[in-house]
């Protein structure tokens, strides 16, 4: 059952990367090479195996010591009922039923080309998803991209339709060439948007909100997949080995949904600028050093009100002689998707019913960063190491949680179109300020959160990518 999704969710991204364009995702995803055919069929498949080392939770106590008077305070049955059950982050998404799973994680066929008779000034890009991931949580197949680009105005190319947002680097790059199997928790949780709607159920009990104000919600529609329907104006300018790029996108803030149902009446504005110094080459593995910054702002409808949602980031990437160094800092305000609470599949009463808590107001913040190094030490072999960290609800000491992950990876390039990747992720979730649990409710829930978060296990993933 594809219900609530967790930290390591997955989704999306992709874009064809023809071999003769630079590592400029705007060029790669929105434009065709000179002389391109009216249509080119292509795509990729990524069968993926995942094994979670984490097991069931066992330590939610029967009582805690009151921070108010030192008395013994009982922990509600609704929480203790989850002892013996496995937290969502130790299950394989999007199904969240097993700790181990082999699945066709992504299967994306597409077509792209130039429209005949336009002097190559109009091109298009269409891509579908048949894999089992957060984009297909409600339907077996979805369109992830459907854009037309008009290249008539010097310095202002115009792309219209469902396509990528000009966000952070992970959100923009094609997943078929991504150096890791899973996104960082940072990009996944802050940029791969979960659309939510208000939820109430008087027939069940729920974990109380005992810190900053949060709303009970449930997921609505597919994850955003770093995409939206809208109009993007962009272009790039070359001066010797320097390349400067800008992009501004106005979009309807509904993710991959074509309708306006998830967020009626609201729009996003997203912009990114980047500068690159090209050492040599082109294509998705161009050797260069690139610095970039981006910003996204808009509103989200929740019930009868709209709430401001902001995301922004800054980062850099270096690739030369097989050595890759990259890093990015991202921060967020408003519409912070906190987590399913408790973070389990529903086991029925008397347990608390898991609901998705979201911190709506723009005073709620989150931020984090990642650092990554990769070394292609032989033509067919590469090793990768990444650290990423996400702190949610940094505006509220009691609510703040930190997720950090070390990812050790290896890649074997069997051929230019077939690649095997193996990742081992050392994961941790912590309650950052236990000293901020100053009343009985906070002590109970904070203690439970610490126990549940402490059950997170490391994760092994193996994935084959076949590009056709």
């Amino acid at each position: 059952m594809k219900k609530t999704l967790l930290a390591a969710a997955m989704a999306a991204a992709c874009a064809h990367a023809p071999a003769t364009f630079a590592t400029n995702w705007f060029q790669l995803q929105n434009n065709e090479q000179p002389g391109a055919a009216p249509y080119t069929f292509w795509g990729f498949v990524q069968p993926t195996f995942t094994h979670n080392e984490g097991g069931a939770v066992s330590g939610i106590p029967a009582t805690v010591v009151s921070p108010v008077n030192g008395a013994s305070v009982p922990v509600p049955t609704g929480l203790r009922a989850y002892n013996g059950h496995t937290a969502l982050f130790n299950l394989v998404g999007p199904d969240l039923e097993h700790g181990d799973q082999l699945q066709i994680f992504r299967a994306r066929p597409g077509v792209r080309g130039v429209i005949p008779g336009t002097g190559e000034k109009i091109n298009y890009f269409v891509l579908a998803e048949f894999g089992n991931n957060a984009l297909t949580r409600e339907r077996p197949a979805v369109l992830t991209d459907a854009t037309v680009t008009f290249n008539h105005i010097p310095g202002a190319r115009v792309r219209v339709g469902l396509g990528r947002l000009p966000l952070g680097e992970e959100a923009m790059q094609g997943v078929q060439i991504m150096d890791y199997i899973n996104f960082t928790t940072l990009s996944d949780q802050l940029l791969n948007e979960r659309f939510v709607q208000p939820y109430a159920n008087a027939s069940r009990t729920h974990a109380a909100v005992v810190g900053a104000p949060m709303a009970m919600s449930q997921l609505n529609g597919a994850f955003g997949g770093f995409r939206d329907v809208g109009v993007e104006v962009y272009d790039w300018f070359n001066k010797g080995r320097w390349e400067y790029t800008y992009a501004v996108m106005v979009s309807q803030a509904n993710g991959i949904g074509f309708s306006d149902d998830l967020n009626p009446g609201n729009h996003d504005v997203t912009a990114r600028v980047q500068a690159s110094y090209v050492f040599q080459g082109s294509g998705p593995k161009r050797e260069d050093v690139t610095a970039y910054a981006w910003h996204q702002e808009g509103k989200r409808a929740f019930g009868s009100s709209d709430y401001t949602r902001m995301r922004e980031g800054i980062g850099a990437k270096y690739l030369r002689h097989g050595l890759r160094l990259s890093g990015e800092y991202i921060r967020a305000k408003g519409m912070i998707y906190v987590a399913p609470t408790p973070q389990f599949n529903d086991i029925g009463a008397p347990a608390f019913e898991p609901v998705d808590y979201v911190a709506l107001d723009s005073s709620n913040k989150a931020d984090g960063y990642y650092l990554d190094v990769g070394w292609k030490f032989a033509p067919k072999w590469e090793v990768d190491l990444r650290y990423d960290e996400l702190s949610k609800m940094t505006n509220s000491a009691y609510d703040e949680r930190k997720a950090s992950t070390w990812t050790l990876g290896g890649q074997y390039f069997y051929s230019p179109k077939v690649r095997l990747a193996v990742n081992y992720e050392v994961r941790d979730i912590s309650v950052v300020h236990p000293e901020a649990q100053v009343n009985n409710g906070q002590k109970i829930q904070g203690t439970a959160a610490g126990v549940i978060g402490g059950s997170i296990g490391n994760r092994i993933s193996a994935q084959v990518t076949w590009i056709f």
Partner: protein
């Protein structure tokens, strides 16, 4: 039994003599002869099509694999509309590096570069240069290089 053992000994001796003789012949072969036997091939790339660039690089690699990299001199001469193959933003930049690392000589025509206002700084660091691509092809053919235009 004894007869069999004797036959084995004689056979082994004969084989040893055969190998020794062959080795001596090889050692006695003049260096010039060995050099003349070395295969040589030059490829012309003069079109602005990455498919042709990849084909030329594939051909060069296949020649080296078939004959042994030490047994063949391979040169790729790039000029005219094909000059983009050796520009810094070439689609096959990494493959050029790899080929040069494997002993393939890859050269750009400086006449073409001048016509297109390209300097050596605009080119791949692994590329070599010749004053005129066409003349280079003529010289190499005169030196006995096989000429291939993919």
């Amino acid at each position: 039994m004894k007869t069999n053992r004797l036959i084995h000994l004689l056979t082994a001796f004969a084989m040893a003599m055969t190998f020794a003789s062959a080795g001596t012949q090889a050692m006695d072969m003049p260096a010039q002869q060995a050099s003349m036997d070395k295969q040589k091939v030059v490829f012309q790339v003069s079109v602005a099509d990455p498919k042709t660039w990849n084909l030329a690089l594939n051909n060069a690699k296949n020649v080296q694999q078939e004959l042994g990299a030490g047994n063949v001199d391979v040169e790729i001469v790039v000029y005219g509309p094909g000059i983009g193959m050796l520009k810094f933003d070439s689609a096959v930049a990494n493959r050029i590096d790899e080929a040069v690392g494997d002993g393939v000589k890859v050269v750009a025509c400086e006449n073409t570069m001048k016509a297109q206002k390209l300097t050596r700084d605009d080119m791949l660091s692994s590329a070599g240069f010749v004053p005129a691509g066409v003349v280079e092809l003529m010289k190499k053919q005169k030196e006995g290089y096989a000429y291939i235009r993919p």
